[in-house]
Structure formats: C-alpha cells, structure tokens
C-alpha cells in the first residue's frame, strides 16, 4: 500500500472514528454537567433512596408482608377469572348480577391468603420496599390488584348491609396507599376505593365508630399534591436507567449505559452520542415541567395546557423517530408525564377531601336523626377541623341537598360546577372502565341517598 493510499484509508476510517470519539466525550460531559446541576439543587438524580436499608425489624416485616400479599394477589389475577373482578360495580345492576357476584366471591375466596397477609401488614410501620421487593418500587400493579380485592370484599359486605365488617377492608385498602409511590397506580387504586366508599355509604350502614375509624385512616393520606415530586422521581428513573455514575463528577470515562433490554453492541456504540444528546434534552425539558408543577392551584392548569400546546406545536421529530425505532429515550416524556400526573395529583386531593367530608356528614347524620347538615360549616369543629377546599377552585367543596339525597363534590378538571354530575365506580352511571374528556361536564363527589341509609 502506497503512502497515498494509506492516507486515504486513514481519512475515511480513522477521521470519522476520531470525530465520533470527540462528539461522544462532549455529549457525555454535557450530560454529566446536567446531572450535576440537578444534584446541586438537592433534587433526586438516582433511585438509591428507594433501595436504602430499612431501619427497623417492623419496617422489614411490613415490606415482606405487603410484597408477599401483592405477589399472591397478582398470581390470582393472572389466573383465569381474575380479570372479571375489574368489571363488577355494585352500584350498576347489570355489572353486579347474582351470577357475577357469585363468580367474584369464588375468586375472592382464593384471595384469602393474600388478604390475611394484608391484614397483618396494615397496622405495621411501613417505610418502603427497599431491596426486599425492589421490583415493587417500579411495578406497583400487584399492589393495585391487592387494593381491588380488598375493595371488592368491602363491596360484597356493604351490599349485604354489613358496613362495619366492610370498614376493616377499607382500612386495609386505605393504608395500602402508603406503599404506592407512583401516582398512576395510586390513582387507579383510589378511583376503585372511591367507588367502594360510595357503595358503603349508600348500602353498608356503617356505625359511627366505623365511620370515624375510616375518616381517621383517610386523613392520614397527605393533604398535598405531589405532582412536582412525581416528576422529579420520574426524571430520576430516566437518569437511573442509563447513568450508573456518581452525580458529583464528570469523569472522562463516564458514558451512558444501554438501557435494560438492549445489548451493548455496535448500534449503541455508534449512536451513543446522539442518544446522550436526546437524553440530555429530555432531562432538561423536565425543568420546565417541574416549574409548572410547583405553580399554585388553580393557576397551574392554564400553564399545563399552554405547555402541552407548545409541545404539540413543535413535536420533537428526531426524538420521536428514535422512540419509534428503539423505544427509548421516550420523546416528550416530561410533557406526557405532566399532562397525566397533574390530574392524578389534584384529583387525589379531591378524592381525599370529599371522602373525609362525606364521612363527617354521615357521622353528623347519625347524631341528628338521619338529617344532613344545612351547610358544611355546621360540621366544624365537632366532625371536621375545617371545611375542605376544592383543589380545582379557590372555594370550599360544594354541598347540595335535595329531597332524598345530598351530594358533596369538587368541580373536577373542567373547573365548572356541573351540579353534581358524578361519574366512575359506585356512581351508578357507568361501571369500569371510566373514560372522559377533560372538559366534559363532570364533578368528583359522593351522593348519598337518605332513604337507603340510617
């Protein structure tokens, strides 16, 4: 090979390789700097916090019991007949026929071991799954199935008028929420629990002590919306997937790793600088989403809408192409998470506050010959410490009485009072699944028929 030919080979082969190496280094350093900036703000950059050893034997025991119960419950759901449990709604006659209930009862009989473990875990201190069941830090679907089974147990008892017995399962389901760090699963579980509360109050006839026990349990749910925290945790998951280095440095050897499920190969090596760049942009876009999530309610809704519009108007074409081809990094993740987490977070506040208020009203009725109060302020301070605010507006929750019922509600995502237009499990209008448009006339609330109770 003549020197001229060798030079040609060098230019064609080595120059692009050198260029690739420099580009790779540049992108890796930029990504490391981005992570360092996040760490400097004292925000989560990896999931090691979820894997921290548990402090006490009681915490380890509760984690083990919850994990075992969730595993049993998940196995049952995967078996034949489990999925039908999702379709039963005792407020809708068609979906709670005697045949359907008998079949569900049969499935639930096999859920007894899981329920027993759940019962043991409920009173114990819980501080996370740590490494005892690390998979439940990410996949909390088994916990949701456990919640479903507890709620159905409660529904069956409520339908028989055995509200006091049902409350035991409610307390288990309500306490189970502390294990659900991911808002998606928590939302699924809460929607189901909410339906069961509606059925309990209309059919179960629980005694005042049972109502008080349930009210105290629901009051343990934090009265803060954690949308920003959810976004920060999601960003940490994204980083944790690919960055296995300390957040405090920009070491020359640091590079992103292939996300789980892909092999370290030539494709990843060649595209690594581009992937690193896309990931950095995705991580950066979380800054805006987190800032919006920290805005006070109800101003946040307009900011979320504007952010979604801006993202939709300028779709990240290259990122979208890579997502389609490689499944990762997910294009528009920050916008997608914010658009979903915000309703989850704010609705959870509405669920919490309306449940507590309805339970307080029922306790008031028990002391006043079945008559509901004239206004929510009447409940303070004997039954409520204060009248809860509607998280979707700046005012209090809405309370309306008609001749044979009362309803307490929040105005939901459209932020318009639709006169108590309820939906979802236990509302009597539509069983699972519930699918609504954001701006459709809808309220989140509990209606109790006076004639059917007390």
């Amino acid at each position: 090979m003549t020197p001229r030919k060798a030079l040609i080979v060098a230019v064609i082969v080595l120059f692009p390789l050198a260029l690739h190496a420099v580009w790779d280094q540049w992108e890796a350093s930029s990504f490391a700097n981005e992570i360092m900036r996040i760490a400097d703000r004292q925000e989560l950059t990896d999931l090691s916090v979820l894997r921290r050893p548990l402090a006490s034997a009681e915490q380890r025991r509760s984690a083990s019991l919850y994990a075992a119960a969730a595993q049993l419950s998940s196995n049952l759901m995967a078996a034949e007949g489990g999925s039908q449990l999702y379709r039963i709604d005792f407020a809708v006659p068609d979906s709670s026929s005697s045949a359907a209930v008998a079949a569900a009862t049969d499935v639930l009989a096999r859920a007894e071991p899981a329920m027993s473990l759940l019962d043991l875990a409920t009173p114990l201190d819980f501080a996370g799954f740590s490494t005892i069941a690390a998979e439940l830090n990410e996949n909390q679907f088994p916990l949701d199935t456990l919640n479903l089974q507890a709620c159905l147990k409660a529904d069956i008892l409520s339908a028989r008028g055995a509200g006091d017995d049902a409350v035991r399962y409610f307390v288990q389901a309500a306490r189970l929420q502390r294990t659900m760090l991911i808002a998606f699963y928590r939302n699924q579980a809460t929607v189901r629990l909410y339906g069961s509360v509606r059925i309990l109050l209309n059919q179960g006839r629980p005694s005042p002590p049972s109502l008080l026990a349930l009210q105290h349990t629901v009051e343990e749910w934090p009265d803060i919306d954690d949308v920003a925290a959810q976004l920060i945790r999601t960003r940490a998951r994204l980083i944790d997937d690919v960055w296995h280095h300390p957040a405090s440095g920009t070491g020359w050897a640091y590079r992103i790793q292939p996300w789980r499920g892909t092999d370290q190969g030539i494709t990843f090596f060649l595209l690594r600088p581009l992937f690193t760049d896309l990931l950095r942009r995705e991580v950066q876009s979380f800054d805006r989403a987190i800032a919006i999530a920290k805005l006070p309610l109800p101003d946040r809704f307009d900011a979320v809408r504007d952010f979604r519009r801006a993202e939709a108007a300028a779709p990240p074409a290259v990122r979208a192409m890579f997502t389609r081809t490689f499944g990762f990094p997910p294009a528009g993740l920050a916008s997608g998470i914010l658009a979903n987490e915000n309703p989850f977070g704010v609705r959870h506040l509405a669920f919490r506050r309306t449940i507590i208020t309805a339970l307080a009203i029922e306790r008031y009725r028990a002391d006043h010959d079945g008559n509901p109060p004239d206004a929510l302020s009447t409940l303070v301070p004997a039954y409520l410490s204060a009248v809860p605010h509607d998280p979707f507006t700046t005012g209090p929750l809405t309370f309306r009485k008609t001749g044979d019922s009362y309803v307490v509600y929040s105005v939901d995502l459209n932020r318009v009072d639709d006169g108590g237009e309820l939906y979802g499990a236990g509302s009597g209008k539509n069983a699972y699944p519930v699918r609504r448009d954001d701006l459709a006339p809808a309220d989140i609330g509990i209606r109790v028929h006076l004639s059917s109770t007390r």
């Binding site: 080979v9 996949n139 679907f141 699918r435 954001d438």
Partner: protein, 116 residues
C-alpha cells in the same frame, strides 16, 4: 504510410494508445476507497436494522395498551397518554427483569438448610 517500418509503427502505437485504457486504470485506483466506505455503510445499515428487531420487542405493547385504556382522564387518546403508557410499560418491564435477576442470583437451599 510509406516509409514506416514495424518498429516505427510500434513506437507510434505506444505513443498514441487508446485513451480509454488509461482512464480505466485511473478510475479503478480512485474507486476502491469508495467501495470500502460503501461496504462499511452497508454493514452499519444492516447492523442497525438487525438491532431494531431486538429493541422493538422490549416494551410490552399489550401492557402499554392496557395502561392507556386504564387512564381515566380522557388523556388516553392523546400523544401524552401514549408516551405515559409506554413509559409505565417500560418501567414495569425493567422491574420484571430486575426480579428475574434477583431470582437467578438466589442460591438454592440444600436439603438441610432453611430448617428452623
């Protein structure tokens, strides 16, 4: 052509040989690096395509659809809902693999081990 002998004729032929022959030789010398570069590109392209088949199956599409179906806020038909559902399915797949790895790392108990 009178006066030309064989030697003169050969000299003239060497001097005025067909231009195409010379061009062909030069072209071959310039083409082979491009051929190598093209081969590399083809190999890379095949490599990329070969890899895509493996990576596309990582996210459980069925689970992503189930998550999408379960979203209760009417966001399920939007791009935001799709991204969200894919993300949840991805994380669940990661968790499943972690659980499998943990299981695989467990040392099976012997007949006398694990007794209280």
């Amino acid at each position: 052509m009178n006066g030309l002998n064989d030697r003169d004729l050969e000299a003239l032929l060497r001097k005025y040989r067909p231009a195409s022959k010379r061009t062909s030789s030069t072209s071959a010398g310039r083409t082979w690096p491009w051929a190598i570069a093209a081969s590399i590109l083809i190999a890379v392209a095949f490599g990329l395509h070969g890899r895509v088949d493996h990576t596309e199956s990582r996210v459980d599409e069925q689970r992503a659809r189930a998550v999408l179906h379960g979203l209760d806020a009417g966001l399920d038909d939007s791009a935001d809902g799709s991204v969200f559902a894919m993300w949840i399915a991805h994380r669940e797949a990661v968790a499943a693999r972690q659980a499998e790895e943990q299981q695989a790392a467990l040392v099976p108990l012997g007949p006398d081990q694990g007794r209280l």
